[in-house]
Symmetry: C2
Subunit: 338 residues, 2 copies
């Protein structure tokens, strides 16, 4: 089977590697209808995060169940399913608390930029759709596997409420979908911080009421103007750098909420500074599984179209080209058709 | 007028200094019925936090209004009042959001270890009691000015809920009153981390169901045992050191809540480590004013006795002795009678 394999900084190849098979009786094998490249894939692609050479990469997926292990009871071959990038049993105390990405048996799904993938803990991880989706629904459903669920969790973690003011830091796919999530949750004022024309256009279409192109102190000053000097009720941090976290903290009002879903890379937080802001902080790897049933409903009914973040569609064999386009910010997010 | 004046590390003297007078038309002058020494006073006493020499110290107070400025409308001479250590206007956006300690006009009350004190923003800061309190009620009412309100905020910030499991890190007066607060809020299992006999006895009387004497990894292991390997729903951090914060993070369950009210001193937080715990974090200088009406009711009706944390009562002129007793952990908290 051929799929995306990581060979070192800025080197992803479409190569032969071992086809997935059932390893544990709780596994399922999916034939993927669609897969994609994640903003977080750029961390290893750019050499910032470690990833062993020769790893089959990709963790966003949806498709048809081809085979299940002997212990799988609720998922059947032939079903169309969406699953989270974290496999979870959905029964342990962490899962029951709604944090399936901290499941005691959590396992990262890998090798999904391929025609087939093995998903561990199939019963806990996979959620079937009401039926076979149309080709047009595929991008929307695929987005639920990570990026939409992550934006949604960012908005939940930032306590977005009807009528509230929300600032989204980061105009990648997660940030854009955090805008969409805030809109769905009834926020009144949604500020997208973006200096990128195509991205800010999509942000507006997703529900952003204001675009702030400035960053740093000038960005804070603009948010202050837009909020009558008060700051945002909610800030959603979707990048994971020191600068973006500082930006998010500084735009949040006294006693407001900061949801952070950008994977932090070298972000020390000064607790003393935080102490005096009275900000609530919550975040982490999104427990996408918690939101899947609701988000599948919203997609199925045509209420939301998170798949619009895919602005480049390629056949799977051109995955390397997809990585380059995202690395160079020429594409927001790349959809891959196996 | 004679009161407590700071003269350098471990040097507080009872000395003549200028008697307070109305400076702004929004001020009030109180004749104090009782005052005390705060755990946070030990930070400057021990030379850890800066404090200019010659400063009249003390910030916890209750007493009778003697004089009000021309702009004060709701507070009258002769009323018995309790106020927060932070003066606040109680009308700005931060106050309306419930964060009076981040009031836009916030001013620290100082010089309260004295017979009289000036309280700025009297209308926003002071809350009258239903009548003149008895001598027995004085310690309970005085405790509301900071330490009880701080323990209460810690429990609020840690999202303590009926039936929940709470761990309190720190067995100072704030920690003990966080135990009392968690009990009032209906927590089912309340673990006080304390290796000090008198303190853990009081913790039990306030509602602690378990005492854990171990710290560090062994402390975490004990909490794990007590919570069926899950961790606490809520942790309340009442110290402010790197070690105590780490302890609080480690005992909190996945997706749980950490309220921190110990003033952080050199506590860097690794956001990446935090990311993977899914813990909610909230804290800061307690907005005591938010809780005062409710807490005065609870004291007035005899429901709570937070004044029990005062285990040493001295006449005000022996304030230096009080500081020594608290510094050496011979006293939990020192009550001073002007």
């Amino acid at each position: 089977m051929r799929g995306a394999v990581f060979y070192g900084t800025r080197d992803v190849r479409f190569e032969d590697h071992e086809a997935p098979g059932i390893i544990k009786p709780t596994d399922a094998i999916l034939r993927l209808s669609a897969t994609c490249i994640c903003g977080s894939d750029l961390w290893f692609y750019r050499g910032v995060s470690p990833m062993p050479w020769g790893t089959a990469v990709g963790h966003e997926y949806c498709g048809i169940v081809e085979e299940v292990g002997s212990a799988v009871t609720s998922i059947k071959a032939g079903q169309f399913v969406v699953g989270s990038f974290f496999a979870s049993d959905n029964t342990c105390p962490s899962c029951r608390a709604g944090y399936q990405s901290s499941c005691r048996q959590a396992e990262l799904v890998l090798g999904a930029q391929a025609p087939r993938v093995r998903v561990p803990l199939a019963d806990g991880t996979l959620v079937p759709t009401p039926g076979a989706p149309s080709g047009e629904q595929l991008p929307d459903l695929l987005a639920l596997s990570d990026v939409m669920g992550t934006g949604w969790f960012g908005a939940v973690a930032a306590n977005v409420e009807p009528g509230g003011t929300v600032v989204v830091v980061g105009d990648g796919a997660v940030g854009l979908l955090a805008v969409l999530s805030a809109k769905e949750m009834g926020a009144e004022k949604i500020v997208a911080m973006s200096g990128h024309e195509a991205r800010s256009k999509l942000a507006r279409e997703f529900g952003a009421t204001e675009i702030v192109t400035e960053r740093g102190e000038r960005g804070v000053a603009r948010i202050n103007e837009l909020t009558g000097g008060i700051g945002a009720d909610s800030a959603i941090e979707c990048v994971g750098t020191k600068e973006s976290m500082a930006q998010a903290i500084e735009v949040t009002r006294v006693g407001g909420y900061l949801g952070f879903v950008g994977v932090p890379h070298g972000v020390p937080l000064d607790l003393q500074a935080l102490f005096h802001t009275h900000i609530h902080i919550h975040g982490g790897p999104a427990p996408v599984r918690r939101f899947l049933p609701d988000l599948i409903d919203r997609v199925w009914s045509g209420k939301i179209h998170p798949g619009r973040v895919f602005d480049l569609k390629l056949p799977l064999e051109r995955v390397a080209e997809g990585y380059r386009a995202m690395d160079e910010r020429r594409a927001i997010k790349v959809f891959l058709q196996p």
